[in-house]
């Protein structure tokens, strides 16, 4: 346990002392803010039109709701930005150890592969959570400037969805990082894989119904969408956790190819 925390602490202190992290956070918040601004502005324009509509036809307007118009599309956008962020968070996690030779230190220390894996996973998940957590600021702004404000239930479930997306994607990224000493290649392949998992169900339009169902199940987006709509389904949670466990299994296999296991 202590060794795992030592590794977790080492990774976290790297993240917080590295300028890369702050640049990334700034870029992340900038893009998220830009998208939020566009979505919210569009919503404001729609609201203004409705008011006009109501004035000229004196009919009851269709209901306008910030959750529906802003929160759901904002979450979809956040998920896509997250898919860009995750490869950058995971790219160095094993590649750097491999490259600088410090793998030799870790792997000849009396600690189990599991401790190494969990220390590194938790570090990435914590940083990722902080990143997505900062976007709460936009939800709060929306809550303050709308009447009657936000329905917070779906907001929290959306964040749960984002967190689960990270928990599923981070092990995959770390696995790819363990395969190469080159961080750029690691980031690139991870991004390609995550993007593929996000868009794989686009092809359902042209596929037979069974295949469409399978593709929908495999891909991230359908599962994530339920969360952003405020639906917490155990099926979706199981899906993300399964992907995560699969990723962790792959890291285990990969590290045990590096080192003597005794198993």
């Amino acid at each position: 346990m202590r060794a795992m925390f030592a590794i977790l602490k080492k990774e976290l202190s790297w993240f917080f002392s590295s300028p890369t992290t702050y640049i990334m956070l700034a870029v992340f918040l900038g893009i998220a803010g830009f998208l939020f601004y566009n979505i919210a502005s569009y919503f404001a324009v729609q609201c203004a039109q409705i008011i006009q509509y109501k004035a000229s036809y004196s009919m009851s307007p269709p209901p306008m709701n910030a959750n529906q118009w802003v929160v759901i599309p904002f979450f979809s956008n956040l998920a896509i930005i997250a898919l860009f962020i995750i490869p950058i968070l995971t790219m160095r996690i094993y590649s750097a150890e491999r490259n600088s030779g410090t793998a030799e230190l870790l792997l000849t220390s009396p600690i189990s592969t599991t401790q190494i894996i969990w220390g590194k996973l938790l570090a990435n998940i914590i940083v990722y959570t902080l990143f997505i957590g900062t976007t709460l600021i936009f939800q709060i702004i929306l809550h303050i400037y709308t009447n009657p404000g936000l329905d917070w239930g779906p907001v929290w479930s959306g964040y749960l969805g984002l967190l689960l997306l990270g928990i599923a994607a981070i092990p995959l990224g770390q696995f790819i990082s363990s395969l190469t000493g080159n961080q750029i290649i690691s980031a690139f392949i991870t991004f390609a894989l995550l993007l593929l998992l996000w868009i794989v169900n686009w092809s359902t339009l042209f596929a037979s119904p069974t295949i469409a169902q399978i593709l929908n199940y495999i891909g991230f987006s359908q599962h994530f969408l339920s969360f952003s709509k405020g639906i917490i389904d155990t099926q979706d949670i199981i899906y993300f956790i399964t992907i995560s466990i699969f990723g962790i299994f792959l890291i285990h296999r990969s590290l045990n190819l590096w080192r003597v296991t005794g198993e």
Partner: protein
């Protein structure tokens, strides 16, 4: 008692045999040197012993633990300093050593006193709070050594521990290793003969993945004395001198030296060729200007063994 026991160890990288049937053992509280030129297989041997890479075949036991079956036990009792000390550049020296202490499971209370001790013994006080990225090669080497001995394991495996140090530091590090060798079993590698000779209790000479000879520096030198050699200078014409010496019984070879009038003559001891040279001089009426026996230094042993000039039995 043998602390490390290596039997028929083989390692292939793809088709390339980096180690072939390597056998040796490290006794308790001795310093064993692995001496060999570049690419001999020193680092490969050490990486296998420290469970970093698996062997292709053979058996290695460290205090009775099999390296492939009980690697965690082996890791607990060995301290390893790789050739290029693995350090995290973004950490401060103090933090790095603390990290190593934590992953090696040193109790918190013991750790801080141990760190103070190491800062002093390894001469790290000056750089203690510097980032590792900013310290010199010699200090990196010292931090590497400090991290190997941090948990005070009974077995130390040090891969070229003095490489890249200045003469003063080399001397100090060798002294430190010798002191450690009094109550630790040490395996160190080097390609410097002199270092093996003065630091190690026993030396194993390795080349192209094979152990060619093993023994104390004195024993190895003794081995080479089975070939005797003398330096000869006679007053006769050099060509004739060379030709007639070559015809004597037991002569292995004659190597001209200096202005080609002096020769190093190697011969098998039982033929007592040096007496024959005296007789030869008398017979031809030449004066003996020089006839001195040559003692083999470890350097010559090494060169001879490595270049295959001596058959090891």
């Amino acid at each position: 008692m043998n602390v490390v026991e290596v039997k028929n160890l083989c390692k292939n990288y793809g088709d390339f045999p980096a180690l072939q049937d390597v056998d040796f053992s490290v006794r308790e509280n001795e310093i064993l040197g692995l001496l060999g030129p570049n690419g001999a297989g020193k680092t490969t041997t050490m990486r296998i012993l420290t469970t970093f890479i698996p062997p292709t075949a053979g058996e290695v036991k460290v205090q009775g633990y099999d390296i492939t079956k009980q690697p965690i036990e082996v890791r607990k009792i060995t301290g390893y300093m790789p050739e290029n000390p693995p350090l995290y550049d973004e950490m401060r020296v103090s933090k790095f050593l603390k990290f190593v202490g934590e992953i090696r499971g040193i109790p918190r209370k013991k750790l801080s006193s141990r760190l103070d001790y190491l800062a002093q013994v390894c001469g790290l006080e000056q750089v203690w709070n510097k980032y590792i990225a900013h310290i010199s090669k010699g200090y990196r080497q010292r931090v590497g050594l400090a991290s190997a001995i941090l948990a005070d394991p009974p077995i130390l495996i040090l891969d070229e521990p003095t490489i890249g140090l200045d003469p003063e530091q080399i001397r100090y590090t060798r002294e430190l290793i010798k002191t450690l060798g009094e109550n630790h079993s040490v395996l160190l590698s080097t390609h410097i003969l002199h270092e093996a000779e003065i630091t190690c209790d026993r030396v194993a000479i390795i080349n192209e993945g094979k152990i060619l000879a093993i023994g104390s520096p004195a024993e190895l030198a003794e081995k080479i004395r089975k070939i005797n050699a003398v330096r000869v200078k006679l007053s006769g014409p050099p060509n004739e001198v060379e030709r007639s010496i070559l015809q004597l019984d037991g002569v292995i070879r004659v190597i001209p030296q200096g202005a080609n009038d002096t020769f190093t003559v190697e011969f098998e001891p039982k033929w007592k060729t040096h007496h024959k040279i005296t007789e030869l001089a008398h017979k031809n009426g030449w004066h003996i200007l020089e006839l001195t026996p040559i003692e083999a230094s470890l350097e010559e042993v090494f060169l001879k063994i490595v270049s295959g000039k001596e058959e090891t039995e």
